[in-house]
Amino acid sequence: MDASGVSSTDGIMEEPHVLAVDDNLIDRKLVEKLLRNSSCKVTTAENGLRALEYLGLGDDRQSSVTDNASKVNMIITDYCMPGMTGYELLKKIKESSNMKDVPVVIVSSENVPTRINKCLEEGAKMFMLKPLKYSDVKKLRCQLMQCRG
């Protein structure tokens, strides 16, 4: 509880902040609208590096002083991305001391069991198929609430 008497967990119930990572412009636009329509605050990133920079986990140590990481309640990332895949991004997030407990959801247009298992084993909260629907976002929001319980 902070001085104003408002519990910091209240914010999550109302407007979770989601970081959505996808190299495809159309998919970014769609996921952003889907999440906004579902009362989420959204930040998008076009690749893993930009996502890490936003979270203050970038290679440039100067960028590690950032408020962003503490505000992000969930990360949704595409699996197939050039450069750094969603899986590699997941690993980096799980290796970080202050971001490792943030739920990471992997999305993919392809249903590949080995890929799904790999991600879940590495700590992904869920794996979902693209394109996402409202029912998927509903599931995600339920997950978020459980996280904070």
């Binding site: 159309i26 998919d27 609208k33 889907l34």
Partner: protein, 162 residues
């Protein structure tokens, strides 16, 4: 009074045309349910959302098709690059519900894997054709929508498509 009734009848006719046109696009496999999802995302805060996303799709697709033409024209063909482009196009078309374009991308990727230049070129032609078809049809659909809105009507795709 007669004018008002006339206007209502015109609007009705436009809306019926819109409905029939859309139904045909679904029936003939040009579009799948993901397209109706786009309308579910559209709201008063962004009433042009579907047109915006589809316009992005047109730009993106044209760029990818050009890149694919160039890539297949090279002396030494880089199949991994081609596959990456087709994967992108498959993703975008799937995301807006352009089913036939998506399916033509699936075949394309198979021939990429087989590294068959001739078949890949044929696939590219197929993809181009499907893209141009859906582009024409969606542009016609949006024109109809504009007319409906101008005539005082509204598009409630969700009701019509379910």
């Amino acid at each position: 009074m007669v004018q008002a009734i006339k206007r209502i009848m015109e609007l009705n006719q436009l809306q019926r045309s819109f409905l029939e046109y859309t139904a045909a696009l679904f029936r003939e496999g040009f579009l799948d349910s993901q397209f109706s999802q786009l309308y579910q995302l559209q709201d008063e805060s962004n009433p042009e959302f579907v047109v915006e996303v589809v316009s992005l799709f047109f730009e993106d697709s044209e760029r990818l098709i050009n890149d694919l033409s160039r890539a297949l024209d090279q002396t030494i063909v880089d199949f991994r690059k081609i596959d990456a482009h087709v994967h992108q196009l498959k993703g975008s078309s799937s995301s807006i519900g352009a089913q036939r374009v998506k399916n033509s991308c699936v075949s394309f990727r198979n021939f990429c894997e087989a590294q068959n230049i001739e078949e890949c070129s044929k696939c590219l032609q197929q993809v181009k054709q499907e893209y141009l078809l859906i582009k024409n049809k969606l542009e016609a659909l949006f024109q109809l929508e504009k007319q409906i809105v101008a005539a005082g009507g509204a598009i409630n795709m969700v009701e019509w498509m379910l």
